[in-house]
């Protein structure tokens, strides 16, 4: 593994993974399955890190460790200088499966974080409605999750995440069920939100273009056991306009580089879906 990004950021790292290994009991018998191994990674406050890697390489596992849901088998995860142990309440997690409550309407689902914070009902509803509008679900606030489409559930789940306004956002393939337009709009929204509010973001995706467009840097992983192949600095302007990015030659270069990195494995002779 080699890195071509500088590791001397002006800001102190908000998040750092050091020498992380995570193993699970093997599906069969008594062996163990190494999910990720030797992961060293840092992320500065207010930055967006995108994570690219083959399916099953341990991307979700990494987010789970930062959220404090899993404990690393080896190594330490540090958040704001302190080792993560127990749930990391500074992070907000939008998981791969939407965990909406089936007995609450969309509005009540989005409002839940406000209720938890003890906000009065009326203002909680008003704020939730704003977010529902932001993700384009106006008109469906009274639907139950079973009554809306897959993409709409994702959006509701994103709105809920924004409602509880955590310091760091962990997003696991959040825009996967969205169409191209909406996806672009949501990406732009996310970047501007993060910049405006100084959010730190870890963003898992399979889409190379998305990884390049959104991130301040991008960590590319190898297949399982997931190791970092390279951390690529994305030197696009912080206030880039996502709508016109496709015309930016720097963007094209970076996307091509990422594409090259993620496909290297297969070109190196390993078949693409070896596990």
């Amino acid at each position: 593994m080699h890195m071509d990004s500088d590791i001397s950021p002006p800001l102190p790292a908000l998040v750092s993974f050091a020498g992380i290994q995570k193993t699970f009991a093997a599906p069969e018998g008594d062996g163990t399955l190494v999910a990720v191994e030797g992961v060293d990674l840092t992320l500065e406050e207010g930055h967006i890190l995108t994570i690219l890697g083959p399916s099953g390489c341990g991307k979700s596992t990494l987010l789970n460790m930062l959220a404090g849901i899993y404990k690393p088998t080896r190594g330490t995860v540090t958040y704001r200088g302190a080792q993560v142990s127990g749930l990391n309440l500074r992070t907000g997690y939008m998981t791969q499966n939407d965990h909406l409550l089936p007995w609450r309407r969309i509005l009540a689902n989005v409002r839940a974080p406000y209720e938890i914070a003890g906000m009065p009902r009326r203002s909680a509803t008003a704020k939730a409605m704003e977010l529902i509008d932001l993700v384009g679900l106006t008109g469906f606030e009274n639907a139950y999750p079973t009554q809306v489409s897959g993409g709409m559930r994702k959006r509701a789940s994103l709105a809920r995440l924004l409602a509880y306004n955590p310091e760091t956002l962990l997003l696991d393939e959040p825009f996967v069920a969205l169409d191209a337009q909406l996806r672009l709009a949501m990406q732009a929204e996310l970047r501007s939100l993060a910049r405006r509010l100084g959010k730190t973001v870890l963003f898992v995706t399979h889409d190379v273009d998305e990884a390049a467009a959104l991130g301040d840097k991008c960590a590319v992983f190898t297949a399982r056991p997931g190791r970092i192949r390279q951390v690529v600095d994305i030197d696009l302007p912080a206030d880039r306009d996502l709508m016109t990015l496709r015309q930016n030659p720097d963007y094209g270069r970076i996307a091509a580089k990422l594409w090259d990195l993620v496909t290297r494995e297969s070109r190196e002779g390993r078949i693409s879906h070896e596990t």
């Binding site: 959220a67 965990h99 409550l101 938890i116």
Partner: protein, 257 residues
């Protein structure tokens, strides 16, 4: 749709009555099973004299009070033990053991501690009701997705908030099965309580009429008991519908995949 449901029930009910009437005297002596006609007669006598309502009121009160007490405690204990799994495992054999006890064998203890009046029957009923609601609540709580809970805990929800917002609604289906199951037991509990000690209530009426071989009277009392049971069950179902509106939605919605 709705009307025909009641229609079918009526048909089935009338069929049962006919069967009973025919069997009575032909297959089985009326001394043991009386007959719908005789029971109807006794029933109207008991209603006219006001005796039936006097007894039924008492039994209904005992059953409902015991049901509320027992299921309330059971839900709380089920929630608590559902969260404290270790404790639940330690207690498990004791709870099961307690329920293997023929509670009637503990009648002297109940009488001793709770007397022979209404409060004894209410507590007895509550004890009978407890297990079913408890075990269903417990299983419901255990079956709530841990992922769902973690998501909420990450949002900063306190244990209480997780219980209120996630655990309780998720376990409600289970709780209601427990409640529906325990409703008839509540009645049986109240009646057995009255048989253990009592001079009022439908259980007393059954015991008295049975001892006198007044089978029609006994069955009249039993009809009253069954009616109470069905009413209680209907009440719980109505409560269920109003507490779980999303369930109805689910039932009504077209299957999407």
């Amino acid at each position: 749709m709705k009307r025909s449901l009641y229609f079918y029930r009526l048909v089935f009910g009338v069929g049962l009555l006919l069967l009973w009437q025919v069997a009575s005297g032909w297959l089985v002596s009326p001394v043991y099973i009386s007959s719908p006609v005789a029971v109807a007669g006794r029933l109207s006598e008991l209603i006219a004299s006001g005796e039936l309502f006097r007894h039924a009121r008492i039994t209904a009160f005992e059953a409902i009070a015991g049901f509320l007490l027992g299921s309330g405690v059971a839900i709380v204990v089920g929630l608590v033990l559902g969260r404290a799994r270790r404790l639940a495992e330690v207690l498990d054999p004791f709870i099961m053991g307690f329920y293997s006890l023929p509670k009637i064998a503990l009648a002297p203890l109940f009488v001793m501690w709770f007397g022979i009046d209404m409060s004894m029957k209410i507590i007895f009923t509550a004890a009978v009701v407890f297990l079913v609601v408890f075990l269903n609540t417990y299983s419901g709580v255990r079956s709530v997705s841990p992922e769902q809970q973690t998501v909420f805990r990450l949002m900063g929800a306190t244990e209480r908030q997780v219980v209120r917002m996630v655990i309780i609604p998720a376990a409600l289906t289970w709780v209601f099965v427990g409640l529906r199951l325990s409703a008839p037991y509540a009645l049986v509990g109240a009646i057995v309580g009255e048989i253990i000690a009592g001079n009022r209530g439908l259980g007393y009426l059954v015991a008295r009429t049975t001892a006198q071989f007044d089978t029609a009277g006994a069955f009249a009392a039993i009809v009253a008991i069954v009616t109470l049971g069905v009413l209680l069950n209907m009440g719980i179902k109505a409560l269920e519908r109003s507490l779980m509106p999303w369930r109805q939605m689910e039932d009504a919605r077209e299957v999407a995949i």
